[in-house]
Every structure is written in C-alpha cells, then in structure tokens.
Symmetry: C2
Subunit: 134 residues, 2 copies
DNA sequence: TCTTGAGTCCGTAGCCACTACGGGGTGTAG
DNA sequence: CTACACCCCGTAGTGGCTACGGACTCAAGA
C-alpha cells in the first residue's frame, strides 16, 4: 500500500495542501512521522482527524472551537453535554448572523425595487445609503 | 461653532477613530485640512460621506465596492442602473450566504436535537463531524 | 541514462478590514 | 500647575489562510 503523503491527505480531505502545513504549524493537527527523504507520512487516523476539522470549519467553527471539540472527542470523555453546549452557542451565533443578513437583504431589496419604477428622481439605493439616519 | 475633529467625526458617524485614519490612508475618504496644531479638520460633508461608507459597510459591501458606489454617487452621474446592478449582485451574495447558513443551522440543530433523547451511545454532534462522508 | 515534470521541503510575505500599541505633543478645566 | 482627555504618527498584530521562491526528490518515458 502506498504511503499517505501530504498531497494525498490534502486531496482525500479536501483541505488545501498549504493549509495542512498551516494546521500542523499552529498545532491543530499533530506533526506526522517523516520518511527518510523528509516527506510527511500520514496514517488513516490523520485522514479522519483532518476530515473532522474540515467539516467543523465548513460549519463555521473557528480554530479555537475546533481545538476544544477535538479535545472533547478524545476517548474516555463523557462530554456530550459540553459538546452540545458549544454547538448550541455556535448555533446561536449562526442564527443571529442569519437574521442580520435577512434584515440587510430586505433593505437592499426594498431600495432595488424602487429603482424598477424608474419614475424616481434620484437613485434609491444611493439615497438609502446617504440617508442621515441609520 | 466648534470644529469637527477626528474624535467628533468618529462619534458622529459611529466609525472607530483609528478606522477613520485607516480610510484616509487607503484613500477611501479624502485627507482633510489640518489646523495649525496638525489636527484634522472635517466639514459636514465629510460626516455625510463617512456615514455613507459606514452604512454601506454595515450592509456588507467591501471597500472596493464602496469606492465604486462613491464614484457613482458623484454629481452628474446618471448611474442608477449601475448602482442597481452592483446592489443586485451584492444581494445575490447575501442570499447565498443566508442559505448556506440555514443549511448549516439545520444540520447543527438536527444533531443537537438527537442529544436531547440521551439514549444515544455516543455524541451525535461529534458523530456528525466525524462521519466519513460530508 | 538522461530528462522532464510532478511532488515535496522550508520560511516568509501577502490578503482583508481593521484594531492595538507605544511614545510623543496639545488643549482645557480646576 | 497639574491632571487628563484628545490628537499625532508609524508599526505590528489579528484570523485563516494563500502565494511565492528556491531547492530537493522521485517516478516515468525516450
């Protein structure tokens, strides 16, 4: 069986090769063994760990949160509660981001809509941006 | 009447003082006149311009987009169409961000929900993150 | 055997939009 | 006169990568 080099790890996990090295540098993933030529040599466990990281990033967890998740995922931790807490806090963040964006989208939509009528003297989008109150 | 110093400009527009200097440095707002002591001296027009910038930033436009908007807002431009195009493109971005976050929130909600039953062997949140397929 | 091209090594710098820091000068109220 | 707030400037740090440059190694083809 062929050794897992950094390139293979990258393509198997969908994490950019240079990002893998970055994660190693900041200690998010452990430094792997090196072959005689100096090349990094990963095991299938590393693939799983990095996939975990990638999915967590995709879900918008930041690096520090992922560090915590990885620690909680260590064997022997009966940590479902803590994980749930972290996930719920994160969910709260996401939901307030969503409602921010929704308010924002409806503001934009409103001023774009007005453009359609085109009997307006000035540009409603610029007007909204230039309005003296927020 | 008191002169508009950078601190007043900042508090009137809600833009951080150091951010005002940053915007000046990158040429987003013009460099103001200086008093004899070297202090920046703003006019009410500058307050309007910076407020515009702030609202656009709040709506998630990036600096380059705002540069364009400011140029289009210059007098003598009959540019409503272009502004609308920019705004619509931006709205598209926002809407896809919203749906990304919504998918993400329902994923998270689903795995948190499973935790509630608590007859589960392992932690569903970690399971989801650790699942081999995305 | 030689060459070509892909893969890997490393450190460093750049990206965006700020934000903070440090060390100084200035203005004002008590 | 002494606090203390305000302002000046340049530089460095933030997060999470991404890109660059120059050197090495390895596998496959001619």
């Amino acid at each position: 069986m062929a050794a897992i080099t950094i390139g293979k790890l990258a393509s198997q996990t969908g994490v950019h090769l240079e990002t893998v090295r970055y994660y190693e540098r900041i200690g998010l993933i452990p430094a792997p063994r090196r072959a005689r030529n100096g090349y990094r040599h990963y095991r299938s466990e590393d693939v799983r760990r990095l996939s975990f990281v990638r999915r967590a990033r995709d879900l918008g967890f930041d690096i520090e949160e992922i560090r915590t998740l990885l620690a909680l995922a260590e064997p022997g931790q009966s940590s479902c509660d803590e994980v749930r807490k972290l996930a719920m806090a994160h969910l709260g963040d996401i939901q307030s981001k969503i409602s921010d964006l929704q308010r924002l989208a409806s503001l934009l939509t409103a001023s774009i809509e007005q453009c359609r009528g085109s009997e307006v003297p000035a540009c409603p989008v610029l007007d909204m941006l230039g309005a003296s109150a927020a």
